[in-house]
């Protein structure tokens, strides 16, 4: 909290609070659009998130219902249906999760087609980038502007001749559920589900119990930093700021760069603390240009949504024709780090 602009805005708003009133939002005649987020990762099964937008008008809120009755299809580049993805129940997200069994291949093109009732069909074509060669030269605990960070020194090999490579680096913390499994009278139970029974029988001889780690489909983003002036984050803000991801447009040369993770996020604090238990994922991705454009504008919006009259609004790029969102091809190298005691 150290920026004049912010202070000024807050002071203005605070000073003007007495003079605030709601304005009617004009009714909208536009129809909702289907929203599709799909990152097709080479070597992984196809996945999509499907939701629906809300036209801005009177009486709306920021609650979104997942679209569970969509037809989400993966097609080959020549429009042959490869697979219809199936809905996987996930109540933790405001978008419905669809998964398939087709593994995505590098250097191949795919078409994603999503039909959501009462909205236009969404179509997008994307090509999966070739594999990238990433070398992790070293890691180091250090500080960055007084902040404790973990430094990754990466070397990303140059793209093929005359080509460009769009590199994205990010870090996530995947949450973990720690549990104990016990087998009682040949039946397997989780302590979480049968705590009373467990308390009752835990001291009985012959009771088999062991610890189990469950990786949840729940993540937290770890802020990342760069000091590299070649990073396109330069177009978004300062290099001492934190970002969702660090973005590079790589041409001709190998990319030798250092990625910084906020180290306070690596290790869980005491139970119930701010930093939950989990494992750390560091992804170095090569993505399609449309996906890269989306991520770059997304960084801008996250830094400054531009929803007030003082700030220039940012338009997010999209390649989801007929709808909203992004369908991006990706080839990635992932690093898993375990700092928390499991």
């Amino acid at each position: 909290m150290k920026y004049l602009f912010q202070i000024w805005c807050i002071f203005s708003v605070a000073a003007l609070t007495g003079c605030i009133h709601e304005l009617p939002v004009p009714p909208s005649s536009v129809k909702p659009r289907a929203v599709v987020y799909s990152e097709l990762v080479a070597g992984k099964k196809a996945e999509m998130r499907v939701g629906k937008s809300k036209p801005v008008g009177p009486d709306i809120n920021n609650d979104f219902a997942p679209v569970t009755n969509a037809v989400a299809q993966l097609l080959s580049a020549d429009s042959q249906l490869l697979e219809q993805l199936h809905y996987v129940k996930d109540t933790s997200s405001n978008m419905a999760f669809y998964r398939g069994n087709t593994r995505i291949d590098a250097n191949k093109s795919y078409i994603v087609q999503v039909k959501v009732p009462d909205t236009k069909d969404v179509v997008a074509k994307t090509s999966i980038p070739p594999p990238i060669k990433v070398e992790l030269l070293d890691t180091l605990r250090t500080t960055l502007n007084g902040r404790s960070v973990l430094r990754f020194h990466f070397n990303v090999q140059a793209p093929p001749a005359n080509g460009r490579q769009f590199i994205v680096m990010e870090a996530l913390k995947q949450l973990i559920q720690l549990d104990t499994i016990f087998i009682y009278r040949n039946t397997r139970y989780r302590v979480r589900d049968k705590r009373a029974l467990y308390e009752q029988v835990k001291n009985e001889p012959g009771l088999v119990s062991f610890k189990d780690t469950l990786y949840l489909n729940s993540y937290l983003r770890i802020p990342v930093y760069t000091q590299d002036e070649n990073a396109d984050n330069n177009q978004v803000g300062g290099l001492n700021e934190n970002y969702n991801s660090i973005l590079f447009t790589q041409r001709v040369k190998a990319l030798d760069t250092r990625l910084y993770l906020n180290a306070t996020a690596l290790t869980a604090t005491t139970p119930g603390g701010e930093i939950p238990i989990g494992r750390v994922l560091v992804n170095v991705k090569s993505v399609t240009p449309e996906y890269y454009d989306f991520l770059l504008t997304y960084e801008k919006v996250r830094r400054n949504p531009g929803l007030n009259s003082l700030i220039q609004a940012i338009q997010i790029r999209s390649n989801a024709y007929g709808g909203l969102g992004v369908i991006g091809g990706c080839n990635q190298v992932a690093y898993y780090l375990y700092y928390d005691q499991l």
Partner: protein
Amino acid sequence: MLVLAPAAVLRAQSKEAPILQQSYTPPAREGSILFFIQDIQRQTGISISYSSSFLHLNKKVQLTGSEHNTGQVLNTILQGTGIQAAAINGKIFLLRESSQTQYYTISGFIKEENSKEVIIGASVYDPVTRRGAVSNAYGFFSVQVPDSCTSIIFSHVGYETYMLQLPLSEYRQMEVYMQPRNPLQTVVVNGEQDSVTLQAGFIRMPIGYVSNFPALLGEKDVLKSLQLYPGASSSLESSSNLLVRGGNADQNLYLLDGVPLYHTGHLFGLFSVFNGDAVKDVSLYKDAFPSRYGGRLSSVVDIRTRDGNMKEWHGKATLSPVSLSTELEGPLVKDKSAMFLSFRRSLVDAYGGQVTHQYGKYALYDLNFKLNQLIDNKNRIYLSFYKGQDNMTIPRDNSVFPLLDDYKFAWSNITAALKWTRVISPKVFTNTTATYSRFYNLFSQRSDFGPLSGQPAINGKGVSRVRDVALHNETEYTISNIQKLSFGGGYTYHNFAPTAYSSNLDGGDAIQRPAPKYYMSEFSLYGEDELRLFDDRLTLRPGLHFGALAQSGSFYSSLQPRLMIRWDFPKQQYVQASFAHMTQFIHQLTTPVINLPTDLWVPSTENIKPENAFSYSLSYQKQWGTSWRFNVNLYYKLLKDIVTTNTVLNIFDNSDLWEKKVISGNGYNYGSELLLEKNMGRLTGIFGYTLSWAWREFRSFNAGKMYPFKEDRRHNLSLALKYRMKPGWSISASWKFSSGAPFTLPAQIFPDYDWGRNINGKLDGRASPFAYTQLNYLPFITRLNNFRLNPVHHLDLGTTIYLGSTRSIRHTLTAGVYNVYSRSNPFIVSYDQFVTSLDSEIYPLQLYQYSLFRTLPYISYTLKF
């Protein structure tokens, strides 16, 4: 051809004159010229003017007998004398034919009777031919009059018209003194002056406007007064941010005694830095820019401060609940040198520690000082100085919004100018000016703890600075009454340090980036020729301005043609067309709408090209006597390579590289303006209306399509009236209206990318410097600035009462009410709230309008000696 022009005027007028065809029967066939002239006057009652110096009045003449009207008789009796009769304004003038006329140059300085302060913009003209000139910024004039001319007139805003009888005993450099009108009387605009030189896109604002009309908190504000004129508006209610014809605030060249100013706002632009009490002359050029000006795209605001009284010491003090303003002027050596000193300061911080502790501390002041020294009747030196300072402290434990750190901001402007004016000859006047201008913004933060526990407290300090040193020369050469040359040039050394931040934090792995600094040389040369042709009906002013910016790694130059053409019609009407190419080498990376001291001035570089404007205008003006003025303007302005940023720059971070965030594109501004002004009488006032469009086009915005500029306002209206109830008591009212500002309202919202993929929030340090919360949705924006906010309008009332005087002290009371009908005008509008505490909260989305001022009274007391 130029020399013959005066004769052509007379011939043209003679043909149309009925008094030269008035029936007249001569009493005799023979007599002296004087006999016939006197008889015509006696019989017809027509006044005949002549000069005995070139007319042999006793010469005997004989009529042919066929003369039956005045013109025929006069033609006969004047035959062979080289003199002809001309009917002008209901009189007959006996004038020499042009081939025999001799011209004299009369030049000198026009000064105020009491104070001997020079008068800018006074008209000097021959009442017969109406040819003349206007005194320049140093009060100098140079006119050529025929030997037949019997008098010349001096007139000016707020001064009694003065007539000088000719011929003079000797034609040397003169000093003409004009008597000020009653200072309590409404200031008037001189119509004669307009008819001689002024053009529609140029406004010389009567300085009385600054104090005549009601103002927010009673603070006299020069730039807000200019906003009464069409084509000049502000971005927000009561902001002193001046926007001219759809241009940005940084596209105005602000000159204070010839020194460019880079930041003109106090208190985030609510008040301008120009102290109304210190100002003598305010000129605004919206188009047809004279060639001497360059460096900005939209306008030139040329402000001159007072020189000081050369005769007597005088002073003034004004006290209001929010500010104190004082001034002192007088001779250091009588009739040789004078000084002027003014000081104003805000008083908000004087209300005690309670307020300061609760809200923070804010104080501003302005200091103007000017010294002028007469060396001899041809040489004069001026030394002027200005300093304006804002100080703001926000304690962390303020009650409005508690913070983690203490913040301090201090920004200041300093300008200094040393001018030397010299009359080289009666026809040549030159001034040479050395200037210094500095804008300095110091900001600091202090917290009690570091980013990690056990680390020392953060102490950070930053500076944003602009520094200019310049030397300029301007020369005017009045070749004749119909031709004037202006030429000159200058050199400016710029030193820009947009941001330089340092703190006691251990950077660790962070690369220590030196703050960017730019050292540049800017050169300018100009030449301009003002010509009056076809009996003064056609005025042509072609000109050329050359500008260049050189710095390590880049060099830009620009040749900027200017042209003004005017055709005068009878009955004080004219049509004028103009073209101007302007180039701006420096850019302001600004926060939209508000005027923050953190707005950064940056130069054109290897990657960022200079901005260019091509302005076209067409105008018509009509005057009725000296009271009423009406004009209508059409304008079109093409802006090329204008720069903007798609983000807000962080001045607390040297690594926020501005050059990476700048994009360039085009702009298209067009519209029409209408002005009706009444300048004399008990009721005076101004009505202005502007119908305008302003578009911007950037490749990476709005899918490359044009969109309305944030300062686009379809309609702007202003009406300001002042009525003098009786001497010493006046009431005034002003009403301003402006269409709603454009605003980008999302067409739809949709789930956030991260949230949609179960990346549900943030870990430590995720907060963006410019967004308090991480929303769980993204806006889908189809078009930028697709929505209009509510219009802004307010009615203000005011009165000025002269309370009388005790001994030599005069007392005046000024009071009024701002926003009488308590209109809630939009100041900030936000879709969704600024601050929500929980990321996952489900809440209704709404438009919120934050307003600034409701009904606000003001009062101030002035004493003057």
